[in-house]
């Protein structure tokens, strides 16, 4: 394959570092590498999206939207997968990849939700940010299915580094299984939630209810104002892009910060086909790019490459990076690339009503909700399933939609609907799934996408362990809601496909043992150390936490290591 560039044309395509992908982890790689003085090229397959300029619906009132947010039928019919995402609507659809853009093969059903633009899914993420605890890093080895090569203590300073810049709201709760971080003031619970929290904690000693931690500026500190970001305005229209920079995205934060160094080049419309391996040096030399519009093929070269294309696309690129040295994909000497893909189990939820609190209301729209750190199998195996789950719940007064399907005509009916309705409760699980060899992605042997790249085959499913966890959550959720005084409790298993959680992880997992993993403790390939993978693909297990904060911390840590190694001349 290609060796290091020597021709003048190639030199113009040569950078110190290449970052594949501009989403939440790619943005962090760009920021850290540019700040360290590396000329960095960020390759993004989607279109450009500039903060402020390219948020066309950010200030739209409900009546400004032709269909009041509902999806026109043609758009819904053309996107049977994307439309399943709760955040995909008339006001946000421009930030989601459409189904036809990049076909894939569902050997087992998998709802692959993608954001193809500068900023990736950081524009449309749910913004919930919890640290992992030492239990989450040590548990997989205890349970015998994976071994993390790093500890919580090693990652903790990088969590702090990331949290200060991103801006994370939360209380210092002192929960061992959910470490506190560098917090801005927390969001408030409402009166019903506060009462429920007290009743649940009283009835179930050891279980905790804390306010959710999220990437919203409840207070804009100097480091946030310096990014051009201001306080969150409690509009809760985040999926349209925020004109205040109230929540963290690559677009509002890391990418403009990186650009200010003068070291950043972003090239939208760049579909990365593969990573180029130089068999003579044993290092990657660059990447091959197909222009999204013209399909022209170009190559770019760098000393170090960060792959942050989002979990499944990172796997796709690595599997497609074939060379004489790696005929089955980069670093894939053992056939483990694309294996051990896991996700989060969201299937269980409960609805209920809550009496009382008739004279209590709230104002503003809050971007988070109370949550309960995992209370299952934390320090030892206690249940008929492995690992555990986090619980989220919220209470709110029902609005005018309660009139839909309810009888009524005329002035009295209308007036009743203009008042706050009774309190309703929603509770859901976020469960850890166990990475299994069988749950995998691979390249299709005969089907290709519009750029001539092999399509990805998804073969990822639930196991009996997941089914047992759902049953446990639904029983525990019911018991906790009963203890909280709720009525009309309805439990649901929505049997959603894997993928709709948008928390897919693994395929190029980290590990100590090169025979059992792809990446080392610095997110470098064991056998090709100038390639780093720091998005969800690197994860050896999923934890119960929303994963983006951990991706960001791992990225910043790996970028520092890359800079240090470049300085020593070892890369």
């Amino acid at each position: 394959m290609s060796s290091h560039p020597t021709t003048p044309g190639a030199r113009a395509h040569t950078y110190d570092a290449i970052v594949v992908g501009s989403g939440i982890s790619g943005g962090w790689a760009a920021k850290e590498l540019c700040e360290a003085g590396l000329r960095t090229l960020v390759l993004e397959r989607g279109r450009d999206v500039q903060h402020l300029r390219d948020y066309p619906t950010a200030l739209a009132n409900p009546w400004d939207l032709p269909h009041r947010g509902r999806l026109p039928r043609a758009l819904a019919q053309a996107n049977p997968i994307a439309r399943k995402c709760y955040a995909f609507d008339e006001a946000t659809e421009h930030f989601f990849a459409k189904d036809a853009e990049q076909p894939y093969v569902q050997e087992k059903p998998f709802d692959w939700i993608r954001g193809y633009q500068v900023g990736g899914k950081s524009l449309i993420w749910a913004r919930q940010t919890q640290r992992w605890s030492h239990h989450d890093f040590e548990g997989p080895a205890r349970d015998g299915f994976a071994e993390w090569p790093i500890t919580y203590d090693e990652l903790a300073p990088w969590y702090s580094h990331v949290e200060r810049f991103v801006g994370i709201s939360g209380n210092r709760d002192g929960v061992e299984g959910l470490p506190d971080g560098e917090f801005l003031p927390a969001w408030e619970m409402n009166d019903a939630e506060r009462a429920m929290a007290g009743r649940i904690e009283g009835a179930f000693p050891g279980r905790r209810v804390v306010q959710g931690r999220c990437a919203h500026l409840t207070e804009a500190r100097p480091e946030h104002l310096a990014q051009g970001r201001g306080k969150c305005q409690s509009r809760n229209l985040c999926y349209r892009g925020c004109p205040f920079g109230g929540y963290f995205s690559s677009n509002s934060s890391t990418l403009p910060w990186a650009a200010r160094t003068g070291n950043l080049t972003i090239r939208p419309g760049s579909v990365v086909e593969s990573i180029l391996h130089d068999d003579a040096t044993g290092r990657a030399s660059g990447v091959r790019v197909i222009d999204a519009a013209t399909k022209a093929v170009t190559e770019y070269f760098a000393k170090v490459i960060f792959v942050n294309a989002a979990c499944l696309n990172t796997n796709l690129i690595l599997l497609n990076s074939k060379s004489r040295r790696y005929p089955a994909g980069l670093g894939n000497d053992h056939g483990l690339l694309g294996r051990h893909v896991a996700f989060h189990n969201y299937r269980g939820s409960l609805n209920a009503s809550l009496e009382g609190f008739a004279d209590s209301y709230y104002s503003g729209r809050r971007p988070t909700q109370p949550m309960m750190p995992n209370f299952r199998n934390v320090t030892r195996q206690e249940t008929d399933f492995q690992r555990g789950y986090m619980v989220f719940f919220s209470a709110a007064r029902r609005g005018w939609t309660r009139g839909q399907g309810a009888p009524g005509i005329g002035a009295k009916y209308k007036e009743e609907l203009t008042r706050p309705g009774p309190w309703g409760i929603y509770m859901m699980m976020q469960g850890e799934t166990i990475p299994r060899y069988e749950n995998h992605v691979r390249l299709s042997a005969n089907q290709r996408d519009p750029w001539g790249i092999p399509q990805l085959v998804t073969s990822i499913g639930y196991t009996e362990n997941d089914e047992r966890m759902i049953r446990d959550f639904l029983a525990q959720g019911r018991a906790m809601l009963e203890a909280a005084g709720a009525r009309d409790i309805r439990a649901t298993d929505d049997r959603r496909n894997p993928g709709l959680d948008i928390h897919e992880m693994g395929g190029a997992r980290m590990g100590r043992d090169p025979r059992q993993s792809l990446l080392n403790r610095w997110n470098q390939f064991h056998t090709c150390p100038n390639v780093f993978v720091t998005d969800g693909a690197c994860m050896a297990s999923t934890g119960v936490q929303n994963p983006s904060l951990t991706f960001m911390a791992l990225t910043a840590r790996a970028a520092r290591h890359a800079v240090d190694e470049l300085g020593k001349g070892t890369l």
Binding site: P62, R70, N190, R419, P420
Partner: protein, 180 residues
Amino acid sequence: MNRRTLLRHAAQLAAAAALGSLPHRGWSALPRPDGWSASEEALLDAIGDTILPATPGSPGAGSVAIGRFILVMTADCYPPAAAEAVRRLLAEVAKRAQAAGSRLFPELPTAERESLLVALERQPPPARDGVAPWRHVKDLTLLGYFTAEAGATQALRYDPVPGAYRGSVPLRPGDRAWAT
């Protein structure tokens, strides 16, 4: 960047907001979908205004062009069976109005329009191809009204930029619900 600069950015953004094909005067200026007459739209306006009439402080659904809204939504967002359901509902309402007093529904006094729709709600035309005619029109009436500017800002309370979240606010008599 200070707060004033941020707000200026936001204002510029508002000016630049490009909302697809929405005309300047809003969605009610969208053309009536093909295949529907002005009198059918007027009948939907009257049905909507009977479900959600004018009350002290806020207008009725008829004044937010609810008929146009229902027709546009039905054409754009629902399968063809929904249009058929709307036709069946309109025919049923017209038939019952004739039976009640040999008049057109919009011309009936308020009390008669209400009692006609109350009876119809008890015994609605049956669902066909998964669409229940009465439920379809009533649900869209509520959606169209409470997300219209008048419904959101007068019948309900609307705050586009709350600035903060407060978790404990006493509810006083007469306080209306938040629109969003």
